[in-house]
Each structure stands twice: as structure tokens, then as C-alpha cells.
């Protein structure tokens, strides 16, 4: 058991660090949940891909570096330590791309991945529906077979990034007569500017259009945009869901960097006699450290040939709660200035604590609510009996 890095690891880290030092914008970009910010973040994706840093774990043919999971973790640590911008391509790179690698055709990979890596095409996730959130198997939007493709109808809700994105991916019911709710689903991709698609941006808690409702009225999707076998979309989607909850969505580098920033803030701003606040800062440091080491342990298991299953639910509950407590503690440390929104000119740290706080509040809700994750932990890791959820 060791945490030693090889000279090759160190060289990779140094290369990433040097590149980031030379390219990370000096000033934070505007929020990516605004039109202006979205464009700026898209440009940043282009810059990243020019250095082949936008998808380091992808094969070289698709614009990546074929990096191991450990090198991916190293890159993420350097990325967040450098204060680099949020990733507007995250839905595509972390959720759709792994699905394409596992279930897509070579043609799909060749067509879709390079444009994703360069930020030319930004992807939105279109899974949830008004009556179907964590209970994804209950979704009702339909895909009906027509010559050369499918016609989509229905409504999708809470589609992240859809207010400004180019294309979306999601699940549709293609066989309403299937005997089980999670059978008869098909995984499809469609352009957000296609005929029949209406995008209605929905303001999140702070009013920014971070997601959107999609209304689909006879939207034609050609066969080439079906991922995996028609009718087997559930199996295809579940491999993506594991990614969303597990290692890729929230890399430890993010929390390590935030805990270091929080510690610096505490040293600068806090009353040393306030031990209650001190303890909360210490807990944020301890938990970010725990998250990092937990991830290293999982990476080691993966490198040794194991796969991560229900354990990703432990991860999801932990990081989402850690994210909130990190930001809550920062806002409390800032006192009355903690109230300033990220749009306030005098907001501390260019509003990053305030914006991060708002974003963190969604963590326990998305990617499968934490209640669903706790059910998975209890049933699959602890072996408790299933409840009424089917």
C-alpha cells in the first residue's frame, strides 16, 4: 500500500501544471449559466482541446491522451489547483462519451467525440421528465419507428445546459407494451435546434437558466443517432448513470482545492477564538482528504481489474454533502459579505463561493437523489431487503 507517484506520473503532473499555468484565464470567466459565460466556456474548451487536455482519458485517436485513471486524477488535481474554469462540456465528456465508448458504433465515435472534445458541440442531458425523476423507468416520452429513424414526442425536464447547448441525449419509450417499465426504452441523440423541438429555459434557484424544459413534437431522429440496440436503452443508460454518480462527475481535485481555499479564508478572516467555526473548517479539510484517498483506493481497485458498482452511491452521497458543507462554512466565515450573490461587484472571491454554494445545493438532488443512493447502499452493500420501490 503506497501513495507514491512514479517519475512518469510526476512528469505528467508537471506537464499539466505548466500548461495550465500558461493558459488558465487570469480572471474567472462569467458564469457558464449565462449566454456570455457559455460562449466564454466554449472557447475555453477549444483551448483545452488544442493542448489535448479536454478529455485526457480518451484514446489518442479521439483527441485524448489515453491517460490512465490515475493520470486523470492527477490532471483533475492540477486543474482545480490552478483555478481553471468549470467544464461546460461535462455532460458530454463524462456522461455521453463513456456510453459511446461502451455501446456506440465506430461511426458514432468518429462523428461525435472529436466535436465534443473541441467544444464545437456542447451536449445537454435529457433524461428526467415532469413525472419521472429518480424513478427513471417511469418515463413517458415516446420514440415511434418510421422509415429510416424515429419520431420523438413528449416532454423532458431539468435538462442541464439545454438553454444554450447544441444537442441532447436521453431515453425514450419505444415499446409501450413491454412487460416491465424499464424494458422497451431506446437511447437517442437529437439536435436542440431540430424541427419540432421547443426549448424553454428554466431558472434555477438563483434565476440563471442552468437548465431547460424540452418539448418534442414529432422530432425526427435518424437511425444513426440511436445508441446501442433499440429497446435496450435502460442497460445503455445505467452504464452512464454509474459514471455520473461515481468517479468521473466529481473528482477529488475539486474538493481538495476548495478545502485549501477555505483554510486560507479561515486563516485570513476568522476569529481564532471561534472554535465551532474552526471545527467546521477542519471537518471540511478532513472530509476532502477522505474523499481523495477513497478515490485513490477505488482507482487502485480499478487498476487491479475490479469494477466499481454500488460503491459509487457511497461516493455520490458523500461528495454532494461535502460540497454543501464546504460552501456553507465559507459563507459563514465571510459573515455579512457571505450574503452577496456572485453577481455583486463586491462579492468575495469574484463570487465563486456564492455561485458554488447555489450549485452545491443541487448535488443531493441530481444524478439520482441521495434518498435513492441510500436505498442502493442499504440494499446492495448492506444486503437489507428491498422496500416497495420496484
Amino acid at each position: 500500500m503506497d501513495l507514491d507517484f512514479t517519475t512518469e506520473d510526476d512528469a505528467f503532473r508537471a506537464e499539466a501544471r505548466d500548461w495550465l499555468a500558461a493558459h488558465v484565464p487570469a480572471r474567472p470567466l462569467p458564469s457558464l449559466e449565462t449566454s456570455e459565460g457559455f460562449a466564454a466556456h466554449r472557447a475555453w474548451e477549444r483551448t483545452l482541446s488544442t493542448g489535448r487536455w479536454s478529455a485526457v482519458s480518451w484514446p489518442v485517436e479521439q483527441g485524448g491522451r489515453g491517460a490512465s485513471i490515475l493520470h486523470w486524477l492527477i490532471f483533475e488535481e492540477e486543474y482545480y489547483a490552478a483555478g481553471a474554469p468549470g467544464r461546460v462540456s461535462q455532460n458530454g465528456i463524462n456522461l455521453l462519451a463513456p456510453t459511446l465508448f461502451e455501446h456506440g458504433s465506430p461511426e458514432q465515435r468518429a462523428r461525435i467525440l472529436p466535436a465534443m472534445a473541441s467544444g464545437e458541440v456542447i451536449w445537454a442531458q435529457a433524461w428526467s421528465e415532469p413525472e419521472s425523476g429518480s424513478d427513471l423507468a417511469s418515463l413517458r416520452s415516446t420514440a415511434v419507428r418510421v422509415a429510416g429513424g424515429w419520431l420523438l414526442n413528449g416532454q423532458k425536464a431539468w435538462s442541464s445546459r439545454a438553454a444554450f447547448a447544441d444537442r441532447a441525449f436521453g431515453l425514450f419509450r419505444s415499446d409501450p407494451g413491454a412487460d416491465r417499465p424499464h424494458r422497451g426504452l431506446t437511447y437517442l441523440m437529437f439536435p436542440l435546434d431540430a424541427k419540432g423541438v421547443t426549448v424553454r429555459p428554466v431558472g434555477r434557484l438563483d434565476g440563471k437558466p442552468a437548465f431547460a424544459e424540452l418539448f418534442l413534437d414529432d422530432v425526427f431522429v435518424p437511425d444513426e443517432d440511436v445508441i446501442g440496440e433499440p429497446g435496450r436503452g435502460w442497460q445503455v443508460a445505467m452504464s452512464t448513470a454509474g459514471n455520473e454518480r461515481g468517479l468521473t462527475l466529481r473528482s477529488p481535485g475539486r474538493f481538495t482545492a476548495a478545502a485549501e481555499k477555505l483554510t486560507a479564508l479561515w486563516r485570513d478572516e476568522a476569529d481564532p477564538a471561534d472554535t465551532a467555526l474552526r471545527d467546521r473548517v477542519a471537518d471540511a479539510v478532513i472530509r476532502s482528504r477522505a474523499y481523495r484517498l477513497f478515490t485513490y483506493a477505488n482507482a487502485s481497485r480499478i487498476a487491479a481489474g475490479a469494477s466499481i458498482g454500488a460503491e459509487s452511491s457511497l461516493n455520490k452521497v458523500f461528495w454532494s454533502e461535502l460540497d454543501i458543507s464546504l460552501h456553507e462554512t465559507a459563507l459563514d466565515l465571510l459573515g455579512p459579505r457571505g450574503e452577496l450573490s456572485d453577481e455583486a461587484g463586491e462579492a468575495p472571491a469574484d463570487g465563486s463561493w456564492a455561485d458554488g454554494y447555489t450549485f452545491s445545493l443541487a448535488g443531493p438532488i441530481y444524478a439520482g437523489t441521495n434518498e435513492i443512493q441510500r436505498d442502493i447502499i442499504a440494499e446492495r452493500l448492506l444486503g437489507l431487503p428491498k422496500g416497495r420501490r420496484s
Binding site: A26, L293, L384, P385
Partner: protein, 357 residues
């Protein structure tokens, strides 16, 4: 980088688990609490035979050298089985005497370490970092104390000739007594004593963190087993979401304390200068997680868990006692923030947002 127990280390834990399961440890714990140490001593001998006490004793004194990962593995199992006795103190005493030997003072090490490693000597230890009491001084063959560390270079390692009355602990299996001052033999007076005692306190906190993790794991394991068989409102209580979620949270706490315990072990293996902060982080996380597991275990067992005769009480009480042993949560949190805690390898804590002209 391979942050994973190897097969041998994992098998070592399983072997201890099998041995302790077969040994009817709860009976030994109860007898120990009543002052009858016979069963506990027999168990001690078997733990020594498995090699546990040799894991922090130098090879020159019949030990295996300092093996913190194996020590963590074994103390998790000792906690899971609620093994009584000054386990942490014997290991820490080994580190203290080994530290003196390393600094050239081998007399006390040669006299005591082979006996500690073999399990012949059950040792208690009182250091300023651990509070005023020595654990199980009434059962131990010897109690070491370090005194006079107020001025640099004056620290003195002594044995005690006796102890005050046993002060009952919240955990009846932990018997606390004040060492008698000014008695016993002086083993060493030198600047080395202070450094060795500091290292010993770190190892005590580290072993306690691992033991605490094991206590928490046992609480969850036992409660899961109970929730699967206990029926209320015509259904197994483990099918209720409120029950599931409490147990899931307990498991999350423990599963994220585990890598911190292993991380502290790695830091000690590398003799990292910052091992203290990593140990403190592990101690806080394991203590909070095990205590939360104890609260969950009690709540989900209901009244049966609140009885002394049901074995669950052995772990519930230990979880609270270990929380403050060898480092209170507050002291540990302060230590975490005192130094540069665990910066990413190769990442300087000073690294901030890169500036572009």
C-alpha cells in the same frame, strides 16, 4: 501508487477475524470488566502469537520493525471484536522504547521489547497527550510514565510501582487508574525521551483510530443482522426506508474513515513529517463515524440495545470512550489545521490560480 491492501495484508485481517470469532471475545470482555483478567490474558497470548505486538517493535528486539499498515489492519479487527486490555498502550510503549533505542539508548528497549513483542508483557502507558489515567494499570505487568517534559531535555521515562484506585469508565471494559507519582524505577532521562514519547502518542492515536473504525464496523454489521430478522408491523424492519437510510449513513461515515486510517498508515510508513495531521484526521473521522454508528445501532435495536446483558452494549460504550482516548476530537481538529495538511502529492499548498500576463 497502489492505495490498496495487498493479499497478504487482507489475509492477515481475515485470520485475526477468524481467530477472534472463535475465541468468544464477548465473554472475555465481560470478565475483564469484572476484574477477572484470565480470559483476557489468554486472548492476549493468542493475539501476540498472531504477531500483532511485534508490528511496532524493532527487529533488533525480536519485533518485525514498524509496520503501520499491518498494525491498522489488526487494530480494526481488535476493535471489531471489542478485545479488552491495554492493546494501544502496549504498541505505543513499543514505539517509545524502540524510539529510544534508535536514538542510542537501548537498555530499556532490550529489557522490555522482546517481552512486549511476544506478548509476555502487557504494558500500560501514561503520557501527557493521553490524559491523567493509565488504561488497565491494574492488569498490566508494568506501567510506563513519562514525566518532567516541561523543560527541554528533562523528560524522564519511569516505571510505576503502583496506581491509585480504579476509576470506572463509561466502557466497563476500560479500567482507568492514576499512576502513583514518584515511584518505580527510572529507565531513561534524555532529550530522546521527549521525541520518543511524542512518536508514541502519535502511534497511540493512530492505533486508536483503527480500533475505533473496527468498533464502528461491528456496530453496523450487528445492526444490519438485527434489522434483517427483527419484525414490526408485519415486516422486517430492514425494509423500512428510515432504517435503511440510517444504516447507509453509518456505512458512509465508516467507509470514508477507512482511507484516512490507511492514509495515516502510509504517512507513518514513510516517516512523513506531517504524519501527525494525517493521524489526527483519521482519529476524528473514525471517532465521529463509530459514534454515529453507535447511536444508529442503539436506535435501531430499540430497548434491547439499551440493556447491558445484550452484547451490543460492549461496542456502544467503547465507541464513546475511544472518541476521546489519545486525542479529543477538538485537539485533533486543531492539529489538522495547524500544519499543511496533506497537500496533493507534488502540489504545493501555495499553488493558486495561475496568472496570465
Amino acid at each position: 501508487m497502489k492505495f490498496l491492501l495487498d493479499d497478504e495484508q487482507a489475509e492477515f485481517g481475515r485470520t485475526l477475524d477468524r481467530m477472534l470469532t472463535a475465541a468468544d471475545t464477548p465473554a472475555a470482555v465481560r470478565a475483564w470488566g469484572d476484574g477477572d483478567t484470565g480470559r483476557g490474558r489468554a486472548l492476549w497470548a493468542r493475539i501476540a502469537e498472531a504477531g500483532v505486538f511485534a508490528l511496532a517493535v524493532p527487529e533488533a528486539q525480536d519485533g518485525m520493525g514498524l509496520l503501520p499498515v499491518e498494525l491498522a489492519v489488526s487494530f480494526v479487527e481488535l476493535g471489531r471484536h471489542a478485545v479488552p486490555g491495554p492493546l494501544v498502550e502496549s504498541v505505543a510503549a513499543g514505539v517509545l522504547l524502540g524510539g529510544l533505542a534508535e536514538r542510542g539508548d537501548t537498555a530499556a528497549a532490550d529489557a522490555w521489547l522482546p517481552r512486549i513483542a511476544s506478548g509476555q508483557a502487557m504494558v500500560s502507558l501514561a503520557l501527557a497527550e493521553g490524559g491523567p489515567y493509565a488504561l488497565d494499570a491494574d492488569a498490566a505487568d508494568v506501567t510506563f510514565v513519562v514525566t518532567g517534559a516541561d523543560a527541554p531535555g528533562t523528560a524522564e521515562l519511569r516505571t510505576t510501582a503502583g496506581h491509585g484506585p480504579v476509576q470506572p469508565s463509561l466502557d466497563p471494559a476500560r479500567r482507568l487508574a492514576r499512576p502513583l507519582p514518584g515511584t518505580g524505577a527510572t529507565l531513561a532521562i534524555s532529550p530522546a525521551v521527549e521525541a520518543a514519547a511524542t512518536a508514541a502518542a502519535d502511534w497511540a492515536a493512530f492505533a486508536t483510530a483503527a480500533q475505533t473504525l473496527g468498533v464502528g464496523l461491528a456496530l453496523v454489521e450487528r445492526t444490519v443482522a438485527y434489522a434483517k430478522q427483527r419484525t414490526q408491523f408485519s415486516t422486517t424492519i430492514g425494509a423500512f426506508q428510515a432504517v435503511k437510510h440510517r444504516l447507509a449513513d453509518a456505512l458512509i461515515g465508516l467507509e470514508f474513515a477507512r482511507p484516512l486510517v490507511h492514509g495515516a498508515a502510509v504517512a507513518l510508513s514513510g516517516k512523513s513529517a506531517d504524519a501527525g495531521a494525517e493521524i489526527a484526521a483519521a482519529k476524528v473521522a473514525a471517532g465521529e463515524a463509530a459514534y454515529a454508528a453507535a447511536r444508529t445501532a442503539l436506535q435501531l435495536h430499540g430497548a434491547i440495545g439499551y440493556t447491558a446483558e445484550y452484547d451490543l452494549s460492549l461496542w456502544i460504550r467503547k465507541a464513546r470512550a475511544l472518541r476521546s482516548a489519545w486525542g479529543t476530537p477538538s485537539a485533533c481538529r486543531a492539529r489538522v489545521l495547524a500544519g499543511p495538511v496533506a497537500p496533493s502529492p507534488g502540489v504545493s499548498p501555495a499553488t493558486g490560480p495561475a496568472q496570465v500576463p
